[in-house]
């Protein structure tokens, strides 16, 4: 009874709370990092160095009036934010934060579920999120969100193809679709897949930037062009849902990249015996550390680059990344067969 119900439930609750807190604080971290890049201080008023800023933001968003534009499609308008946020959260179910461990004598796995089609699950669930963007922009009955949601749908669909291709080459390497299986494969090979699949990582990361609508691919919410993008008409908690989803997706992309390319919970150089001291650091610490480094990369890029234009983005996706991903896949497959 305990093992079958209580522990999974507990894990789900901890994960959800953890992810939502992480998202809230990621916003603060982003503001701080970008501020430091730009020789500013960032939020400083709420709490020491602004560490309570996410709380204040949360309260503000809760108390805000929730406006539904007149002549909007009410139901779709209401469902769209949920449709975006929920997939972003449930993806975390299959992400392994660490190996099987024992807590107070009970064996516990540091993931909610080890589905044998884990990666497939992530890809399919994550692609539901785009519906929220499209429908949200469409239902707003406003021109700027409409343009933005058209951009969003085109962008997400075209980049998903390239990203999925890179995932296939990782699957070829690991011989498993399970997230845990992929980490175990890297342990068995004694090398992070990043070293054997650098091209795949590059494409995955660029595609990830595009899929999360982050700079320099933040066209659907380019405030200088389209005011607020697809969520222009949203306010209060519904706006917050879109916002949370964006940051949750960033964490997902980073966490998946960590699992697939940086050995998940494995320590650096898992096959080198001389570094045995590193084994004393728990696996989940490694995992979170790697994820954070990748997240930092997201923020760093945002602070540095100008924004791509819509047609250039499409060209990059279809004419550069996709052929590269396919070539990478073929080379990987050939190497797997002939070597």
């Amino acid at each position: 009874m305990t093992d079958a119900v209580v522990i999974p439930l507990l894990k789900i609750v901890i994960l959800l709370v953890g992810v939502l807190c992480a998202v809230a604080y990621l916003v603060l971290v982003e503001r701080k990092v970008v501020a430091w890049v730009q020789v500013r201080l960032g939020p400083m008023r709420v709490g020491p160095h602004g560490i309570l800023q996410p709380v204040a933001d949360g309260i503000k968003l809760f108390l805000k009036e929730d406006i539904t534009p007149s002549r909007s499609d009410r139901w779709i308008f209401m469902i769209a934010p949920i449709l975006t946020l929920v997939p972003a959260l449930i993806v975390f179910a299959v992400i392994p934060f660490g190996p099987q461990t024992t807590i107070f004598g009970t064996p516990v796995s540091l993931y909610v579920a080890d589905v044998n089609v884990g990666l497939l699950y992530i890809v399919s669930v994550a692609s539901i999120g785009v519906y929220g963007l499209i429908l949200g922009g469409y239902a707003s009955n406003s021109k700027y969100p409409l343009l933005a949601s058209l951009r969003a749908s085109a962008q997400l669909i075209s980049y998903e193809v390239a990203v999925t291709m890179t995932l296939v080459s990782v699957i070829l390497m690991a011989g498993s679709l399970s997230m845990v299986g992929i980490v175990e494969a890297q342990k068995a090979d004694g090398v992070w897949f990043f070293f054997v699949q650098p091209v795949a990582l590059l494409i995955y990361f660029i595609g990830g930037l595009a899929e999360t609508n982050r700079a320099p691919f933040d066209l659907p919410e380019a405030e200088q062009e389209l005011v607020g993008g697809f969520h222009t008409e949203y306010s209060g908690m519904r706006f917050a849902f879109f916002f949370l989803a964006e940051y949750a997706n960033m964490i997902v992309i980073s966490a998946v990249a960590t699992t697939l390319f940086f050995g998940g919970w494995l320590r650096p150089f898992p096959s080198v015996e001389a570094l045995w001291l590193l084994d004393y650091v728990p696996g989940w610490v490694w995992f979170l550390l790697k994820t954070f480094v990748l997240l930092y990369l997201f923020l760093w890029i945002r602070a540095t680059f100008p924004r791509y234009r819509y047609d250039q983005l499409m060209r990059l996706g279809w004419k550069v990344l996709l052929p590269l991903a396919i070539a990478n896949l073929i080379v990987t497959a050939a190497a797997k067969v002939f070597l």
């Binding site: 389209l226 100008p306 250039q312």
Partner: protein
């Protein structure tokens, strides 16, 4: 776009209102865009949201008060406005301006040019999504504002010049601070260039965007950096030297392609040349009075005159007609570079994408205070 296949189903142009409350229309410009998908088919520009009737107001203020009004036209480059106005009145009255005053005027207007170009650089880069450049540029502009504050007490609307000279001399130690700033700015320009000049995304966003040929630019009446980026050599500072420009050595950067990228390079180089002029002005700063012999009440003789200077945004001209009897102009007319350059926008925009619109509004560097006056 003419040879596109006829769509199978009924399509409409999407009319979208950009502004007057849009984040990247630099004030209160309103552009009515007609879109075919993301492509701009045509646009109408609506101006006048910031009209304050400065030209008409001027007919009821005396000449000394008008300096204050000119501050409020191009409010990011008040010093050059002041300069253009006072020189026009001086030309009308045939006043002699002391050499020291002319040097300081040149100094101030070159600092002002740098400040104005920094604002342009920052906002233009921000429109294209590079927000860090904006804050970097603002950081350096702040130093110029500090220098101006120390000189005349104001940070934006300086009221820094008088007919016949200047209201006050440079504060002690000011020149050292200006020199420090010049040294600092040169390294900072390198920093902006590192972020943008060879950045692939920046290149793709600006090259071949909003191309305008030299003859077209002349036909529209462009002036300033947008004209020079199209390869036309025209700079009032060289062609009809005013203030003390004939005593300094500086180059006029020219572009070739006439696209947004060339306009960017032209302005960056202009900032470097401005630093050069500022240094020369500081080195050769003559002693002497800062204001010439000016009658207590400024009452120019009957007649009219036009005088133009090279403002940061282009050729800023003033036309003043005096009836010889009153102490305010009979007619006061400004040739604002922003207004004239803005005319090029519809031609630049046509056929480009929505995302380019903000780049193009940014690249012609308008200030709505000057467009509407």
């Amino acid at each position: 776009m003419a040879d596109r296949p006829q769509p199978m189903f009924d399509t409409n142009e999407l009319v979208i209102n950009m502004g007057p409350q849009h984040p990247s229309t630099h004030g209160v410009l309103r552009v009515i865009l007609r879109l075919d998908g993301e492509r701009v088919v045509g646009c109408d520009i609506v101006i006048g949201y910031l009209h304050r009737g400065i030209e008409k107001l001027s007919e009821h203020r005396d000449y000394a008060q008008l300096v204050l009004l000119t501050d409020r036209m191009d409010y990011v480059a008040a010093a050059t406005n002041n300069l253009g106005y006072v020189e026009t009145v001086e030309k009308l009255m045939q006043l002699e301006v002391p050499r020291r005053a002319r040097y300081i005027r040149t100094l101030l207007s070159e600092l002002q040019r740098i400040a104005s170009h920094l604002i342009w650089l920052g906002t233009h880069a921000m429109d294209l999504g590079a927000m860090t450049v904006f804050l970097y540029a603002m950081r350096e502009r702040e130093l110029i504002l500090d220098l101006f504050e120390e000189y005349c007490g104001a940070r934006l609307t300086y009221n820094a010049m008088r007919v016949g000279g200047l209201p006050q001399d440079l504060p002690p130690g000011w020149d050292r601070k200006v020199r420090e700033f010049c040294a600092q700015l040169e390294s900072k320009i390198v920093e902006y260039e590192q972020l943008l000049t060879h950045n692939r995304i920046w290149l793709e966003r600006t090259r071949q965007v909003g191309v305008i040929s030299g003859p077209d630019a002349i036909a529209i009446g462009l002036s300033g950096p947008p004209l020079r980026a199209s390869g036309v050599m025209r700079d009032v500072r060289k062609d009809e030297p005013y203030a003390a420009y004939d005593e300094f050595e500086f180059d006029i950067p020219l572009g070739a392609a006439g696209d947004t990228y060339d306009r960017y390079l032209t302005r960056l180089e202009e900032m470097r040349q401005s630093v050069r002029i500022v240094r020369q002005a500081l080195d050769g700063l003559p002693d002497g009075p800062i204001i010439g012999k000016v009658p207590r009440v400024i009452k120019p003789p009957a007649g009219e005159t036009y005088h133009a200077i090279e403002a940061p945004k282009g050729e800023l001209g003033f036309f003043i007609a005096s009836d010889g009897k009153s102490s305010s102009p009979y007619r006061f007319r400004v040739r604002p570079p922003s207004f004239c350059n803005l005319q090029a926008l519809p031609q630049l925009i046509r056929g480009h994408l929505v995302a380019d619109v903000v780049a193009l509004i940014g690249t012609i560097d308008i200030v709505l205070g000057e467009v509407d006056r």
